[in-house]
């Protein structure tokens, strides 16, 4: 298999196939746990391991896909811009909520990593994990973290957030849709936002804004902390 798979086309095709299959599975089951990215990562790993295909062969195609990460992150600007009116109307609660949320996130992750005596590189990979994947990965990379661990931590956090969001809203007696949306976005980025959209339009829009604002604040904090 090793010589047949040593082509960029192999990695790209396998990735798209796995992502497509994972999307189908999510539609079928409707489970948050069957997150397409999470499932497709496991699928690709399973294929590579089962057929003993070297990781280097896969990454020839993988690197091509990686190239799109920066442009995709830049396009978050379009998502923020389309909600700029709500941002202007609620700038103070958004700014306060996202600042406190990002600070608590980074601080508590750092403290827990210390408590569990995790290695430095692992801790740096986990600290930005509450923000959207592109920003979290950039932050981890810039400060010596391991990007793939960040990707997985961001995913686990997102799944946790979107599963527990309705429960957390009841537990902390959040009645205001602006507050609910921002809190969901701050703790579980885009995966939480998809849940927030189910709760209501205001919740969804606020959650989407929180992704961008928390991302930026996390980048700024990380410059001083890490």
């Amino acid at each position: 298999m090793a010589e047949w798979t040593a082509s960029p086309f192999f990695g790209v095709a396998l990735s798209i196939l796995a992502f497509w299959a994972a999307g189908k599975l999510q539609k079928r089951t409707g489970l948050v746990l069957c997150n397409p990215l999470l499932v497709s990562i496991l699928l690709v790993i399973a294929v590579l391991t089962a057929l003993k295909i070297p990781y280097e062969n896969y990454s020839q195609g993988g690197d091509l896909i990686n190239l799109f990460l920066a442009p995709a992150t830049a396009c978050l600007a379009v998502a923020i811009y389309s909600r700029i009116q709500i941002l202007k109307e609620n700038w103070l609660p958004i700014l306060v909520g996202c600042t406190v949320g990002s600070a608590v996130s980074m601080g508590s992750v750092w403290a827990l990593c210390r408590l569990f005596r995790l290695e430095e590189a692992l801790a740096v990979s986990l600290v930005p994990k509450s923000v959207t994947t592109p920003i979290a990965v950039s932050v981890a990379e810039a400060h010596g973290g391991i990007p793939s661990i960040t990707v997985v931590a961001v995913l686990i956090t997102g799944v946790c957030g979107s599963v527990t969001a309705p429960l957390l809203i009841r537990l902390f007696r959040v009645k205001d849709p602006v507050t609910a949306g921002l809190a969901i976005g701050a703790c579980s980025h885009a995966l939480g936002t998809s849940k927030a959209l189910e709760l209501g339009e205001t919740e969804g829009a606020m959650s989407g804004l929180a992704i961008g604002v928390c991302g930026l604040i996390t980048v700024i904090f990380s410059m001083f902390l890490l």
């Binding site: 993988g62 389309s82 956090t157 809190a183």
Partner: protein, 121 residues
């Protein structure tokens, strides 16, 4: 041709932000610089959303897919993770609850203070 131009604009912004990153004296991720540059271009109306609509829709809609190879590369770190897997899951779960509570309470306080300000003013 339309899409080709849109790719050109977005990749151009990314290239410029990589240069900016290398010029900055502190660690600030290039992709986030790209986001800020693009936002600035949109706010100042140098660029309109129509100029990059299709390409940005494509990138945003398929965002998760672009992270697949980054996730798969965890294969190379299984040794490090084996001992830390449980800690990782606990950290993710605990901090999610903490961040939700902290954000919700701080916004509730802000809204309450703002409401009081309005009544007096």
């Amino acid at each position: 041709m339309k899409i080709l131009c849109q790719v050109g604009v977005i990749f151009g912004v990314c290239w410029v932000s990589q240069i900016l990153e290398s010029l900055l004296p502190f660690a600030f991720p290039a992709s986030v610089i790209g986001m800020l540059v693009l936002l600035l271009l949109l706010i100042t109306r140098v660029l309109r959303v129509e100029h990059i609509q299709e390409k940005s829709d494509f990138l945003l809609a398929n965002m998760a897919f672009f992270f697949l190879p980054a996730g798969v590369s965890i294969l190379n770190y299984l040794e490090e993770l084996r001992s830390a897997a449980l800690a990782l899951v606990v950290i993710c779960l605990v901090t999610t609850v903490l961040v939700f509570a902290a954000t919700a309470f701080s916004i509730r306080l802000t809204l309450r203070l703002m409401g009081r300000g309005k009544r007096h003013g």
